[in-house]
């Protein structure tokens, strides 16, 4: 279980400019939690704090009841996998190499039988065996994102944190990616937290939504509690219209739409 208490964080020394202030959050197990909010609301910072990559100013982050800062980084890497937006793409490595990197916390670079099995299995699960020896820069955006997810799977962690996994993906690949993420929760019992830009993807696929503004959590709850006109209007400083379609709430945020 991951729990954060009274966490504050700021870039630079100015206390006044806090990117996160006094955040309390418990990550729900075996669920998809979506972090939503405007640019600069602190979503990515919060995700970095949760995965022990961004250092915190004050407060505590606990993993299974223990302070993450007291757990060895290598052991944290066996529990939490974190994938950031816009991966460095000028690097020429193959899909297979990338997925093998995922085993690093377990084998420190020397792959054993078990590691090789996990790598093969992850590639299989993400439908990538044919692309194994292809270089990442030769792939389409969707294939590349699948390769990174395969790496995260090979890392074999119960928690997976994704920072804007739909960045640069077209609609078809975005939906495919969200379905994969859903399957990871139902088939593999993973706990997933992700930052999403498109509020409608959060509404359609998340189990739990955390809405952030100015470094604070404005509202969190199930989809029905957060995808509401008055909540979203304050979170995004914008006029929203909520429509219902097939039993799900859809957000319309274009000026032309009239209720």
């Amino acid at each position: 279980m991951i729990e954060i208490k009274n966490v504050s964080q700021s870039y630079g020394r100015k206390e006044a400019k806090k990117t996160l202030s006094d955040i309390n959050l418990t990550i729900r197990e075996n669920k998809i939690t979506a972090l939503v909010g405007a640019n600069g609301a602190g979503k990515s910072t919060l995700l970095g704090v949760l995965s022990n990559i961004t250092p915190i100013l004050s407060g505590t982050v606990t993993l299974g009841g223990r302070d993450v800062r007291k757990i060895k980084t290598q052991d944290v890497a066996k529990k939490i996998a974190f994938l950031k937006q816009s991966q460095q793409m000028s690097i020429r490595i193959t899909v297979g190499d990338l997925v093998e990197f995922g085993r690093f916390p377990h084998c420190r670079g020397r792959l054993g039988q078990e590691d090789k099995r996990k790598v093969d299995e992850s590639l299989e699960y993400m439908n990538l065996p044919d692309l194994r020896s292809r270089y990442l820069d030769e792939l389409s955006g969707g294939q590349r994102q699948r390769a990174f997810i395969a790496m995260i799977l090979a890392q074999d962690t119960p928690y997976i944190f994704l920072d804007e996994p739909l960045n640069n993906l077209d609609i078809k690949y975005s939906v495919e990616m969200m379905k994969i993420i859903q399957n990871l929760v139902t088939e593999r019992n993973k706990t997933i937290v992700l930052v999403l830009h498109d509020i409608n993807f959060a509404a359609a696929y998340a189990n739990h939504i955390v809405a952030m503004k100015n470094g604070q959590i404005v509202r969190e709850g199930c989809v029905k509690d957060v995808i509401k006109k008055e909540v979203l209007n304050t979170v995004f400083d914008h006029d929203f219209h909520i429509a219902e379609c097939g039993g799900k709430n859809v957000c319309l945020y274009f000026d032309q739409v009239q209720n």
């Binding site: 060895k72 460095q88 020429r92 190499d97 990197f101 690093f104």
Partner: protein, 329 residues
């Protein structure tokens, strides 16, 4: 068997070439008596020349070439910038400055002391330069080596001024001229073997560092520690090669660029290919330098500068144009 050749042909070519070049390198020289037949008939002078002059020279070429290639590759992985190398970040110039100070304060010293001085300055300067570059957050990768060359130019200007003041100009320029013809200090080049060994052990960690800081931290790597070890390796290789064979420009820059375009960026897989590729390149340049005005020879750094300079210009040109086309796209 056929499969093996098909998968490894790129590797086989450079290894075969490597052995061919090694034999050629050992067999040529101002003394024409060193021939296979003379060696078989146990000609004493031939064996002496081979053991005490030719073979150490060839080993020095291989070690310094492989070392500088690896140093460049590590710098490029750490900075995630294909234009970084010991000679485009002031590292080599700082090593020269350290060497100068060891002369001034301790006068003539064994190579190992000189190397320690050069190493300390190379490491300090590289740490300074990389931390400043990280803070500046330069968007265009091409500007980093240009800044580095200016920075290196500043250091070497100070070096020249100090050397002039203490009247050791001649010796500094003699050392700075990259050449494998000098004996004496060759033992220092064997120091390069230690950081090379370390870089092989750390190869997979450097690959991961090259994927980005967050990526490395996610995999439980101590990012700063690995970067520091990388820079220690770079500084040690730069210092030892500078003290023993002088300045070999462009090797750390162009060899990793050429090698990674053939063998990919997974350092763990490509590090041996890189070393052999670098050795091949310098062996060719050295053999050319020794044959062009036979029985005399020209400085190998002249040949390397000419060939390497042209290749660097091509990469620079492609880097600038590549950025432009991406912007307009």
């Amino acid at each position: 068997m056929k499969e093996f050749f098909k998968d490894n042909w790129k590797r086989i070519i450079i290894i075969v070439l490597f052995f061919g070049l090694c034999i050629t390198s050992v067999m040529i020289g101002s003394l024409s008596g060193v021939t296979p037949s003379a060696l078989i008939s146990r000609d004493e002078t031939a064996w002496d020349v081979l053991l005490y002059s030719r073979i150490p020279r060839t080993i020095a070429i291989i070690l310094s070439a492989a070392g500088l290639s690896v140093a460049g590759l590590i710098m490029q992985a750490i900075s995630r910038n294909k234009f970084m190398s010991p000679s485009t970040s002031g590292t080599t110039d700082a090593a020269a400055f350290g060497l100068l100070l060891s002369f001034i304060f301790l006068s003539s010293q064994p190579g190992i002391i000189q190397t320690i001085f050069a190493f300390v300055f190379a490491l300090g300067s590289t740490l300074l330069f990389t931390s400043v570059i990280n803070r500046l957050k330069i968007r265009e990768a091409v500007y980093v080596p240009l800044l580095g060359m200016m920075y290196g130019g500043l250091i070497s200007a100070v070096t020249i001024a100090v050397a002039y003041r203490f009247e050791v100009m001649q010796m500094m320029s003699a050392i700075g001229m990259g050449s494998f013809a000098r004996l004496g200090n060759f033992t220092v080049v064997y120091i390069v073997a230690a950081p090379l060994f370390l870089s092989v052990i750390y190869a997979s960690k450097f690959s991961i560092i090259g994927m980005g800081e967050d990526f490395a931290k996610n995999l439980g790597l101590h990012y700063n520690r690995v970067v520091f070890i990388g820079l220690v390796i770079v500084a040690l290789i730069s210092a030892a090669t500078y003290v023993s064979v002088g300045h070999l420009p462009f090797i750390g820059l162009i060899i990793p660029n050429m090698a990674t375009s053939f063998y990919g960026d997974n350092i763990k897989k490509s590090i041996f290919d890189l070393m052999i590729f670098g050795a091949d390149f310098v062996l060719v340049c050295d053999i050319f330098s020794r044959l062009i005005i036979h029985p005399y020879e020209i400085s190998v750094s002249l040949t390397i500068s000419l060939v390497g300079g042209i290749i660097f210009m091509i990469y620079l040109w492609r880097g600038i144009n590549g950025n432009k086309s991406r912007k307009t796209a």
